[in-house]
């Protein structure tokens, strides 16, 4: 296992510009601030349903998405706010979705678990554990088909995220085999935060210390590394992305990360100690990158950081404002967005119609 690489030797991430890294810092801080406000809104019952907070895992979404092109397809599970923001979804639209407003990315029909953003090639936000993994294979298939058969578009790589609990779903293994057999450019990224809800990974998945052997058993290149250090993510992940893109074949990554909050907003977290949580908070990914940028690169100082945080706070506040003041979907929207081609007599209880335009389109 190739853990943190030697600091002495030159790192791939050293070649990244200050602007890029500052952008990542901003993106991670945006997610954290956004999630803080999300939790507040949830506590105020402005947000309903299931709500899964991304705080703690920011480096993972930002670093991996930062390693691909803007038009590479991305798909994930229900813990999706981080991916949406890392993929440049407008925080306003993201927050409005959780408020169930017509101005949300899914017009209020999806909620926290269903962040979709077509202009940014984010294919959701999926609630059934593991169900997004065959979809990830399909997005890679389509990208390859467009490039190879239709002759449109270039070589792409699909990023498909799943939690450590999702590896126990048969769907994931079918997806791995299909990706390998069809040589599909999809990278399965396990956001290994050590828990499936309240179940520690060693209690839910066998041989958990060697998850990459699952990928390897399908002949898929599989690597594991620390997912809390964003530069480390880039160092290891970017080369895999290039390889999977060039050779149009799958990859498998086990990224160690940690969620600071409960599984969902209704989790008492009796299954872990405060010490354990603190241990990870001490390797916090934002503090970590900030330290590098301040003390090693010197491209930001305390004031700069304060200014950045202030600006982000204002941006998120604005997003909340936007959500607060946006209108709910009209009841007529119940029967819209069911069919692209609605026809008479499809239902005994109503006629399907076209809906109001999606705010992202």
């Amino acid at each position: 296992m190739s853990q943190v690489s030697d600091q002495a030797t030159k790192r791939l991430s050293d070649e990244l510009s200050n602007d890029t890294l500052l952008g990542w810092l901003r993106s991670m801080q945006l997610i954290r601030e956004f999630e803080t406000r999300t939790m507040q809104a949830y506590q105020q019952a402005k947000i309903g349903g299931f709500c899964h907070i991304y705080t703690g895992q920011e480096a993972l979404a930002v670093g991996t998405i930062g390693s691909v092109n803007q038009d590479d397809p991305v798909i994930t599970a229900y813990r999706d706010h981080g991916h949406a923001l890392a993929r440049n979804m407008d925080p306003k639209v993201c927050m409005a979705e959780m408020y169930g407003r017509i101005t949300g990315c899914a017009k209020g029909k999806g909620g926290s678990m269903h962040m979709f953003d077509k202009p940014n090639h984010l294919y959701g936000g999926h609630g059934i554990v593991g169900a997004q993994t065959p979809l990830g294979a399909g997005l890679a298939f389509a990208a390859r088909y467009e490039w190879e058969v239709l002759g449109t578009g270039s070589k792409k790589v699909c990023l498909c995220y799943l939690g450590d609990g999702a590896i126990d779903q048969g769907a994931f293994h079918e997806a791995l085999n299909l990706s390998a057999i069809f040589s599909l450019p999809v990278i399965y990224i396990i956001e290994n935060n050590g828990y499936s809800m309240g179940t520690a990974i060693h209690r839910h998945s066998a041989n958990a210390d060697n998850l990459i052997s699952r990928g390897q058993s399908y002949g898929i290149k599989s690597i594991e590394f620390d997912g809390m250090d964003i530069r480390n993510i880039y160092d290891h992940f970017r080369p895999l992305v290039d390889e999977c893109r060039d050779l149009q074949r799958p990859g498998f990554v086990d990224l160690k990360t940690y969620r600071y909050q409960g599984h969902s907003m209704s989790d008492p977290q009796k299954y872990r100690t405060k010490d354990e949580v603190d241990e990870f908070k001490n390797q916090d990914s934002i503090a970590n990158l900030l330290d590098h940028l301040m003390n090693e690169r010197g491209c930001i100082d305390e004031d700069g950081w304060k200014a950045m945080r202030k600006e982000i706070a204002a941006q998120v506040k604005e997003a909340v404002q936007f959500a607060e003041t946006s209108p709910d979907p009209d009841l007529s929207e119940l029967y819209t967005d069911v069919f692209v081609n609605p026809e008479p007599n499809l239902s005994p209880s109503g006629d399907y119609r076209h809906g109001s335009k999606n705010p992202l389109l």
């Binding site: 407003r101 126990d168 179940t199 709910d328 209880s349």
Partner: protein, 355 residues
Amino acid sequence: MTTTIEHPALDRTETMPTFLPEDQLPAREGDRVIQLREALREAMEEEMRRDERVFLLGEEVAQYNGAYKVSQGMLDEFGPKRIIDTPISENGFAGAAIAAAMAGLRPIVEFMSWSFSLVAADQILNNAPKMLYMSGGQWGCPIVFRGNDGANGQLGSTHSWCVEGLYSNVPGVKIAIPSNAYDAKGLLKTSIRDPDPVFFLESERMLGDKEHVPAEEYYIPFGRARLAREGDACTVVSFGRPVNFCLEAAEKLAGEGIHVDVLDMRTIRPLDIDSVLASVKKTNRLVVVDQSWPFGSPATEVITQVIENGFDWLDHQPVRVNTEDVPTPYAKGLEAAYIPNPGRIYDAIKSVVQS
């Protein structure tokens, strides 16, 4: 008092409780007020104490005490060999439990939500209901699958399934859908004792509902509806959570001098059509309320059976009230309009009794 069941598929003679008529069951009124989730827990605990072959498995049922705290404390009493946490592998553990049932155990499988049973559809629809038939009577499948069913927690399209709309089409299973804590305990105990596969559909929305639940043992038989409210203007048939919406609507109508029968079916397979027909014969009107989608729903089955057996008693065409025929929306307002809420039920009854 018990009766016994002998069958080659059973390793031994099984005792079944003798079911008392409705009026001999313990009183529904009383001061032992507990939550519906506690009633479910009591049913499981009582049966697990009675029969060591009974065990519970599912996601987060043990150390986490249940995602919805239904199994709270059961790990402490029964230990990890009988209260078992599973990985997120519904098809896998449902299938494993089915085989354990074939082999003579009495599994209770908790689906955190019935919405997650779709990944296990093959096991629960091909194996559980058909094993006895496929094996020519050699092996049955005495198992209970239970969990949350239905919308209204703003959980969105994939987490709000009413599986009775799908699964009730399949022969070989019994389906219980309680509408209150008292019935939940009595029906779940019967489900665990029954030697056939039972789909037991709970409502997360109702787990916190409080009412008097007797401490003593009691069993509610399958296929016996309860007349939850009496009247002569219309027969209102429902099951599960919407029964409570029907009672709300009925209350409002009573204020207008319109009194209706509200029948709580309790189980849809078996379906107590006799009670429905007896009521329709009296009221000549029928409204069926069902929280699954309308097309080919249990509501259409009730209507069809009434038409088949009581066509001439009807003075007005039967009306169904289902959830709206769209994927479940997240937005609070949309979801509230989506379910068969008291307002829609009220309107439906009105439309039937006024013409």
